[in-house]
């Protein structure tokens, strides 16, 4: 029996990823921004210095797990307002990682208004994952994310198009997503998704806004019926696509289906406070970037070291000991809700927002129904098994790490026993007693994970076998590697 937890002993407690607050400055004033209440919010003078960003990188490389890439996530404010520091940090991290024989991956979250030619070519050259925060059609985007002057839609779209155009059909397409905040004023979720697909996004992450005293246009009880119907439309679209074995851009249902089929038991909503930490402009470390300047969730600093008190509190809030979660059937699919939302709406780490809970249970229920229908028709597996492909499963969670860099060298776990069948492979993992059958594609990938070949080499090898665009192969490879890792068939 395998039971995975978010924290592997001795590994989860090492920092694997940092979110760096490059600047507090931002050129938009989004209605739901959790920054708004803060002192000196959006003050462009509060910037991270190179000393702090370098100390962050040093700490990650020094204290992170030795067998996994370090991950640096640039955030703000609007991090591209500090592009020179971003560039400097990337170069510094690459140089120092190489000297230590480690790999480092990067991600930036941007509102898209500063995606110039120069910026894009740097992001592309360094394989930087780009998450664009963008909410959809012009009227919706401009309403939700107002710019001080003019339209944020008009300011962002040219750069977004440039970015997507430069990455289309390349492995970088899999490292690009759109992150949408849904509000009670924009409930045509299907319309939003279609608009973003037309713009060229292949992966779309949805986050419903949290209601804070009525000022954020977050969802309230009375919105639930409309919210349910909006997500039911997405569910229909997902099921239709899955029947045709086509991917869908919105990752909401593919993500939930992935959780169902992986057999994963989510003990935490995200890795925040565990191995994914936030570093504020001054170098203070907190549970995540949403908790900067909240002393209750501060975790030391990159200058003086990480204080794990918050981690211990998180670990103490296991789902079965929480009032709301312990009674919820969906808790192991959910992980207990966003820590920040729990604290701001419920008052504590263990107090999820009931509206978020309702939407999650509704969605998980739909996912189970879809799984029931598709598995009866043989489109989805009856049980979690990588031997069968999961159609339209191309998404990951907004908070999850991208699947390693092209330079990463995955390696088969030495304890696995492998037997060849015609085309397929049977793998037995003795510590979990798990028997897994890999189909021909997964078997080939498993074979190629020899600890010598890089992810990039494996993609090249796959492209000799399969007539598919490299970006598709890369995304399939990522999904397979994730699955193999989840079943402990790969080390690292």
């Amino acid at each position: 029996m395998t039971q995975r937890t978010g924290i592997d002993e001795g590994r989860g407690l090492r920092p694997r990823a940092f979110t760096l607050e490059l600047t507090k400055g931002c050129n938009l004033r989004c209605g739901y921004c959790y920054y708004a209440d803060r002192e000196d919010a959006y003050d462009p003078r509060t910037r991270m210095t190179p000393e702090v960003s370098q100390a962050s990188v040093d700490m990650l490389l020094r204290e992170g797990p030795s067998d996994e890439p370090a991950h640096v996530h640039f955030f703000g404010g609007e991090p591209l307002l500090s592009f020179p520091l971003l560039k400097e940090t990337v170069l510094y991290a690459e140089k120092n990682a190489a000297a230590l024989g480690k790999t480092v991956t990067f991600e930036v979250t941007t509102n898209g208004t500063r995606l110039t030619e120069e910026v894009i070519s740097f992001l592309d050259e360094h394989s930087i994952h780009v998450g664009v925060s963008f909410d959809g059609q012009k009227e919706i985007q401009d309403d939700a994310r107002p710019a001080p002057k003019g339209s944020s839609y008009d300011q962002a779209v040219p750069g977004i198009r440039r970015l997507l155009e430069s990455r289309r059909g390349t492995p970088l397409a899999a490292k690009t997503h759109c992150s949408v905040v849904l509000t009670r004023r924009s409930l045509d979720v299907r319309g939003i998704v279609r608009h973003l697909e037309e713009l060229g996004f292949e992966k779309i992450l949805l986050t419903p806004a949290t209601d804070l005293d009525g000022r954020t246009n977050g969802f309230r009880d009375e919105d639930l019926p409309a919210l349910y119907s909006a997500f039911d439309e997405l569910a229909q679209d997902y099921e239709q696509a899955a029947l045709k074995k086509e991917p869908v851009a919105s990752n909401w249902f593919p993500m939930l289906m992935g959780r169902l089929l992986s057999g994963e038991r989510k003990t935490h909503f995200c890795q925040g406070g565990l191995d994914y930490l936030g570093v504020a402009a001054d170098g203070k470390v907190s549970l995540c970037y949403r908790f900067y300047e909240n002393p209750e969730f501060s975790m030391g600093s990159v200058q003086e070291g990480i204080d794990r008190g918050v981690t211990e509190r998180l670990l103490a809030h296991d789902l079965d000991s929480r009032t709301a979660c312990s009674r919820c059937w969906a808790r192991w699919f959910c992980g207990g809700g966003c820590h920040h939302e729990n604290v701001t709406t419920g008052g504590g780490l263990g107090d999820p927002n009931p509206i978020t809970c309702d939407l999650f249970r509704h969605s998980m229920g739909r996912t189970l129904e879809i799984w029931g229908r598709l598995s009866r028709q043989g489109v989805l597996p009856r049980r979690a098994a990588p031997s069968q492909e999961v159609p339209a499963m191309n998404g990951s969670q907004a908070t999850s790490l991208p699947n390693g860099s092209p330079a990463e060298k995955p390696r088969r776990s030495p304890g696995c026993h492998v037997r060849d069948l015609a085309g397929e492979k049977v793998v037995y993992e003795p510590s979990s007693h798990e028997v897994v059958v890999l189909n021909a594609t997964a078997a080939l990938i498993f074979e190629l994970c020899d600890g010598e070949r890089t992810v990039h080499d494996i993609v090249a090898r796959l492209s000799q076998e399969f007539a598919a665009p490299e970006a598709v192969l890369r995304s399939d490879l990522d999904a397979t590697l994730t699955e193999l890792r989840a079943r402990r068939l790969l080390t690292g």
């Binding site: 031997s387 397929e424 049977v426 037995y428 003795p430 028997v435 059958v437 189909n439």
Partner: protein
Amino acid sequence: MTPLGESDVAANLVLTLIGVGVRVRTNDADLAARLAICYGASLGNAEEAKDGLDAELERSGERWRVRVEGRAETEASDPVAALRTFNHELMHGVMLGARELYFVHAAVVEIAGRGVVLPGLSQAGKSTLALALLERGARYLSDELLAYDPVHERALGFPRALKIRDECVGYFPDLAADFVGHGEGRFLPFRAHPTALSASTRIAAIVLPRWSGIGCTTELTPLSAGEALLALASSSLNFGAHRTRSLDCLTSLVRTARAWRLLWSDPHDSAARIEEALRAVP
């Protein structure tokens, strides 16, 4: 707990099950008759059973006590439960006595010299399909246990009387008078229905049954070797005891056998379909 005294014993049966000798004793005459029905095809000689297992079914008032080799001692409060517990414990005892074999929860029959394994959970239709195949001339190995000898690559017979659920009796009107028992399924005694037995067979096919509902169609879909292996692995009874050897057993088994998934509604139709599919197997 003292064993039954010789003077109390109503019946003394000596069995040989997959090469393991068993001495069965009971003081309940009614259960002795049922045991004879159940194990009538496995009677052995006292010589073979000398070093074998001791199994007892003792009645005292309205309680029945099951003992197998002193290991399992379980109580039951009615004779039907007592017999079920006894069969269960005896099977486990025998499996422990034949550790070199590999066990899968499955029915096994032989059709024209080719072994057909039907693995699956309870109610998948193992026994009913096996009986439908027997009616068409197949030879019987077991409706419950695939005992696989990896050295000789053969399935061994475990010919306990075939037992089907009460609700499946209706599929076999010609045999209605022959079934014995009620409430917990019915046994088909060998003497009433002289089924041809097979002591061992080479496995040629694996059929994974699932009942699709009354009046539904029958579908026989090919399975890859890997899918067949997963099905056998999940019905395995002693995978953990053999570990990597289990893997080798199953791999060699699925390499040489063909496999199908069977969605079935009528057992006779399904049996004909299995026979037909098997004709194409070399």
